[in-house]
Symmetry: C2
Subunit: 337 residues, 2 copies
């Protein structure tokens, strides 16, 4: 029996080590949100997660109902000076210009080809939508995905000179991980195009395509040389912004979130809908207050305007992240070369 | 050391017992599909699942890409003599008739109130859609869900005299379990209304709402006495049938299925789309050949017509379930009283 006794001793040591790791005092490495400064914002998140995951507690929620929804632009990654998808669309106009000689004399394409972002922006939403519709249709879904993923590999942000997928918020990545480690299902609910986002959300946020909800266009099933394809049409199917967010949550998820995070007035209805969850729920807003490390903007911004939702958050006691003071770091550390 | 040695002996016995269970000859209880008769149909399923889950094998597929899609009506539960959702809609006409005096003299509602299914059916798809639109709109999503779930608790099938949720196919429940046990994500992709189905799919099939794709109407976000509601509108948003199935798969899942099961021509495009998965994939059809235990119908049926898809399945070597010969039992055993 001496050999088995020795094996047993090894097993016992392992067990003690395992138990010890859980029972000891909280170490720095045990902090699930290391990029968040200590304070009421961080505490509100931890308190909520603790309350809904503690079995037997009055606010306990079963794992299957732990639904968390996140806006994307300005909540999970940078949206200034202009939405990333729109930069892609402007670049696509240039790339596709040879196939569209008619664009050279026609606005908003002419200005887009000239790279005159200000002039395009001055044409307002109509001009932007025309560019999105023209560059996001007339091809198969496979072709579209290839051009998005090729673009994401090389396009760089004008100020930070980094890939857009590197300009995600480290504190929010930790929050997504923390929620998932506590049995939450994390979803993106964004005004951005669902097919655009799905080209990076699984790798960047560990959120699989089926948990990404966004605006979408109509596609049409066709047979090309006995191969089925889906052709993207220049026709809007669903706008997942403002009141479209709760509509989209109902349409795609079919369950009520108990946790939602946004950063602009486009998230107001999603947060209101979440607040009506009939149990303990969490509503959060990222307030961009850090012009030095990222951007500072709210009520007057044409991109990511935060005005009514900020008033409502303050009035109702929702969590408002003060980026400058609540976040230790903004972006993930540089990947080792 | 004697005490720890004894504990170790106990542990060793347990381990041997565990290993023995795995290493012994295949027992009846190890069969993942006990309601399927042995034969090429059952074998084609097991061969496929083995091929894509065996690490290092040429056809191995990572768990995150193991997407399986199932039609609902006629594939997972009975669809004869008429789609369950339509029976619900007919009953709703009667239930709501008092609030709609105008229905008493107006077809197709008049015949629906009289319970004259044949007359309604004779009015064709237009009449059916009018009844669905009228009974599935003008209320909040919460109210609609209540009426569906109340109805499902009491409505019984005219022939089998059982709740509709008891008329699911036992072999298909086993198949869903078998796929999930092998790391697949199972989705429903049905022409039926997504909000109707979500009232039973989680309990009946262990498929959560966010994995149910179906036809849908527009909803509108409104505030009622400071409470947010979604009002169902009499307007179609998306028809998830025929070519709508691959379109819906792209819209909701954003990944290509490697496994799909249907039973009618409405599933043809979903199966064609799946067959184009660029790796090993599985396409299956339930052929209703069992008039004694269930129903026998295919090319001439107005409900669940199976004609072109059957020809294509035969031509392309897809798996066709012969219900009469391939299934040992049709429905789950009676729950103990």
């Amino acid at each position: 029996m001496r050999k088995s006794a020795r094996r047993c001793a090894v097993l016992a040591v392992c067990l003690i080590a395992l138990l010890g790791a859980g029972a000891g005092p909280l170490q720095a490495e045990d902090d699930p949100l290391p990029s968040w400064n200590e304070g009421s914002t961080k505490q509100s998140i931890i308190d909520f997660v603790t309350s809904v995951t503690e079995e037997g507690a009055p606010d306990y929620v079963e794992p299957k109902d732990r639904i968390a929804t996140f806006d994307n632009d300005g909540t999970l990654w940078v949206e200034q000076p202009i939405y990333t998808q729109f930069v892609f669309a402007m670049d696509e106009v240039k790339r596709q210009a040879n196939q569209h000689p008619e664009w050279r004399d026609k606005e908003p394409f002419k200005s887009a080809i000239d790279g005159d972002l200000k002039k395009v922006a001055a044409m307002g939403q109509k001009g932007m939508l025309e560019i999105i519709a023209a560059t996001h249709s007339g091809m198969t879904t496979v072709e579209f995905n290839e051009s998005v993923s090729d673009w994401l590999k090389i396009a760089k942000h004008p100020r930070f000179k980094k890939l857009y997928t590197d300009l995600v918020y480290q504190p929010m990545l930790e929050l997504l991980d923390y929620l998932r480690a506590n049995g939450f299902k994390t979803f993106i609910v964004s005004g951005g195009g669902v097919e655009f986002m799905r080209n990076f959300t699984e790798q960047t946020y560990q959120i699989p395509p089926q948990q990404v909800i966004g605006s979408s266009g109509v596609t049409q099933y066709q047979m090309w040389d006995s191969s089925p394809v889906l052709i993207k049409q220049p026709k809007v199917l669903f706008v997942d912004d403002g009141p479209g967010k709760p509509e989209g949550i109902n349409h795609f998820i079919g369950k009520h979130p108990i946790f939602a995070f946004g950063n602009s007035d486009g998230d107001k209805e999603m947060l209101e809908w979440t607040a009506f969850c009939q149990r303990l729920c969490f509503m959060g807003l990222v307030h961009h207050t850090d012009g030095a490390r990222e951007y500072a903007y709210d009520r007057e911004s044409s991109v990511g305007k935060l005005d009514k939702a900020l008033d409502e958050a303050v009035a109702k006691g929702w969590t408002v992240v003060d980026m400058k003071n609540d976040w230790k770091t903004i972006f993930p550390p540089e990947a080792a070369p």
